[in-house]
């Protein structure tokens, strides 16, 4: 009798989770976007600091041409990351025999997109006003907020990743001369680590 009710409660919890959360998130998409981010940030670093005299404090050289290259790198990295995330997640969903475009996916995407688009638009505005240095910490913070917001509709582990990104963003703001490094840690390293954690934890 008692066992039946304990089983019932488990079933209730399972159904509530499965019907509200998008659980087919692929860890591989985290790893691949992390690697893409690292490549992107390395390219950006080489571009900005390429004609540097390393004996003096590195000054950022940003003329119109470099800014255009930087934007191309940024957009390329973003596109590639999104593409790979969609690819790995879709293939995982297919393997589970689930429909990718269900109400859980939509809810997750909407809750991710609102903070992300806000951060994206704000970053573009700041870039065109010449405040380029603020952008790496700001994108980390907005990405973190998006993850915290979206975590209610997907694997709960994502919430911690979001909190880490926010903290990294705030530190990057304070230590602005190393902001590119923190950006590489947040979008590169942490994504890869969390991707591996998620992949191992939810392998089945």
């Amino acid at each position: 009798m008692k066992e039946k009710y304990i089983e019932d409660l488990k079933e209730i919890k399972d159904i509530m989770n499965r019907s509200t959360r998008f659980i087919s998130l692929s860890g591989l998409s985290g790893v691949s976007t992390g690697i893409t981010a690292l490549i992107g940030v390395s390219l950006a670093y080489l571009l900005i600091f390429k004609q540097q005299n390393y004996l003096v404090y590195p000054a950022v050289d940003l003329n119109g041409k470099n800014l255009a290259y930087l934007l191309i790198i940024a957009i390329g990295t973003l596109m590639l990351s999104i593409g790979m995330a969609i690819f790995f997640t879709t293939s995982k969903t297919k393997k589970r025999g689930q429909n990718i475009w269900d109400s859980q996916t939509k809810r997750l995407l909407i809750n991710l997109i609102i903070p992300l688009t806000t951060g994206g638009i704000l970053s573009l505005m700041l870039i065109f006003k010449g405040y380029l240095g603020i952008v790496p910490p700001l994108t980390l913070i907005f990405y973190g907020l998006a993850l915290v917001n979206g975590s209610k509709y997907t694997l709960p582990d994502i919430r911690n990743l979001g909190l880490i990104e926010i903290i990294l963003g705030l530190i990057a703001f304070q230590l602005i001369q190393f902001s590119l490094l923190f950006w590489a840690i947040g979008f590169g390293l942490m994504q890869i680590i969390y991707g591996i954690i998620v992949q191992r934890k939810y392998k089945s």
């Binding site: 008692k2 304990i6 019932d8 409660l9 079933e11 209730i12 159904i15 019907s19 689930q98 269900d102």
Partner: protein
Amino acid sequence: MKEVLKDLDKAFENRIRLGIMSALIVNDDLDFNALKELLGVTDGNLASHLKSLENSEYISYTKEFINRKPNTNYTATSKGAEAFRKHINAIEQLIK
């Protein structure tokens, strides 16, 4: 003990009905196919359990047409939500 048993709802003795109700409590509404996929049951089986929950007035539905195909959306009624809450409380008392 007797008080607790009174709150256990016969309608939720069945796993599938319990599943339907759990899903509808945390979602504003779900359509027939979403419920079917979620619970992994056949059309006929799901339909009969939905019918029984409708008869208890625990769920309600609206029919609409999407691309000329009929689509039925199910929602938990406030009566259903209250019964579900009582049922869960009773289970929690029992397994304490």
